[in-house]
Amino acid sequence: MTDESYAAIMAQREEIMRGSVGIDYGQYVTGVLAFDYERLLADTGYDVETARAVQTLTAVGDTPLVELRNVTELVRCVAKPGKGARIFVKDEAANPSGSFKDRRASLSIHEAKKRGYAGVAAATSGNYGAAVASQAAKAGLRCIVVQEAFDSQGIAQPEIAEKTRACEAYGAEVIRLSVGPELFYVFLLTLKETGYFNASLYTPYSIVGIETLGYELAVQVKERTGRFPDVVIATHAGGGNVTGTARGLRKGGAAQTGMIAASVDLSGLHMASDHDFNRKSFTTGHTGFSMPFTTWPDRADVPRNAARPLRYMDRFVTVTQGEVFYMTQVLAELEGLERGPAGNTSLAAAFAIAQELDEDRIVVVQETEYTGAGKHPLAQLNLAKRLGIEVRRGHPRDNQPGRRIVIPAHPSQIAVVDVDLDGVRRLYLQRAVESLPEGATLSDVDLEFLAADTRTSRGYVQGIIDELRRENA
């Protein structure tokens, strides 16, 4: 009998992953830490046009760009005179499974089919599972989705329960697990047993699939307004959304557009905690994902992560849980769009950031997601109350993740908190240095790579590394 223990399967991690994504990541290695990121993406064989062609086959993409005129007016009611940029949203809920995740799934499933895999598997508790299941259904492939779905009391997180239902509606097998990072062990075991394609969120196919979003919105905004957006705001979790959108914007000609990452602040809550699991009130778009993935992208379920958000973000902001729920309600009641809630993280940020910009400027919120039972502020707030979390109106600064959700009393209170990007870069570099094999030294190629990965210079990287060494000496 083969050894299927945790230790045995984790030891086969590299081998199982290599077989399941069909990419030999080893060929891209250029240094101790460095790899040829652009070649990894280019070798997918897709550019924006060919990616769009594949996505069109399953009605993915080409989503409407909607100007939020009433929300913009509300911004101007609370902004200083002359301030209040126009806010647009890319209505990604119009994709077949209801979110931009269809773009990420489409190329992976297309590749899995082309290469003769019998099925696809994905480790995800979010919209991505529904996207993979939907794409697999259309392609006639079997599908397994592994979710972290319930706590030790058996209480399911309502948004994930809805995702279970959606995946099963598309004919997928859903493995629902209790809380813990050993989900990855179950996922590896499943890949090993089935030989399915790993439709990871972090393969180059997933990222190239999002480039079409950035590309489309650059073209749509230019057509509609005669100019490219000044800033695009993406809800930020694992980094793919920021990475793919920014790359697509450049390919669409919007090279000067600022890329802002926005996450819900969940500081104080532990992502592997059984107790905290149902007290987050958000399943994605939060700092529990975005902080670790920004500072260490290669923690993913593939050897090298194609989502490398620090390369692309101009700014990284957080908003509170209560602000996102508030804006979700505002979007429904002022624009007639019931969407989200998690995708509205970037909308809450846009409401604040639009106030910093002149009225003729353009802010684009680059996604919406479908709404449904469980996947709604009511479901989250009712669960929060049941677990003893206080829910009240007040000032967002009093919001305390896991203890108190404060719904703003007035829209003028909505604000973003800037994450110190230099601090994030430092954490990234610290992690990089710690990951160096014993006795290894960084070559010129590695320093160039780290500079590109942190969007800084060799001098900056060298300076921080020297500082870290002095501190540890």
């Binding site: 005129r69 079997r142 809380v179 592997a272 905690s273 505002v330 469980g374 009712n382 669960l383 719904i407």
Partner: protein, 104 residues
């Protein structure tokens, strides 16, 4: 004798994947105190009783064993009652907008 559930019925099984004591080293203490559990749905391969070991065929065609816990499990996630903290936001922002919020 417990009632047997018919072969082919859509059911859910439950299994402990990692018992307490075998959880990963990096897991926080309170999570280590509980096992890693798994629930999967599928069609029952042979008649079985609730609470007994049973085999299912999943939608991916896999055969899995576990304790039979539910028959035709419901999707019971919902919205719940309206939340008063959200109920008045629409009126509030319309009042702030006044004539500016008439749409265009």
């Amino acid at each position: 004798m417990a009632e047997l559930i018919a072969k082919g019925t859509w059911v859910e099984i439950h299994r402990i994947v990692l018992p307490v004591g075998e959880r990963a080293a990096q897991v926080p203490e309170e999570t280590k105190r509980v096992p890693l559990e798994m629930r999967v749905k599928g069609f029952l391969v042979a008649p079985a009783a609730l609470g007994e070991e049973a085999e299912i065929v999943t939608r991916a065609g896999r055969r899995l064993w576990g304790t039979l816990t539910e028959v035709n499990p419901a999707y019971d996630h919902s919205f719940g009652p309206p939340v008063p903290e959200l109920s008045t936001i629409g009126e509030e922002v319309r009042a702030i907008l006044g004539d500016r919020g008439r749409g265009r």
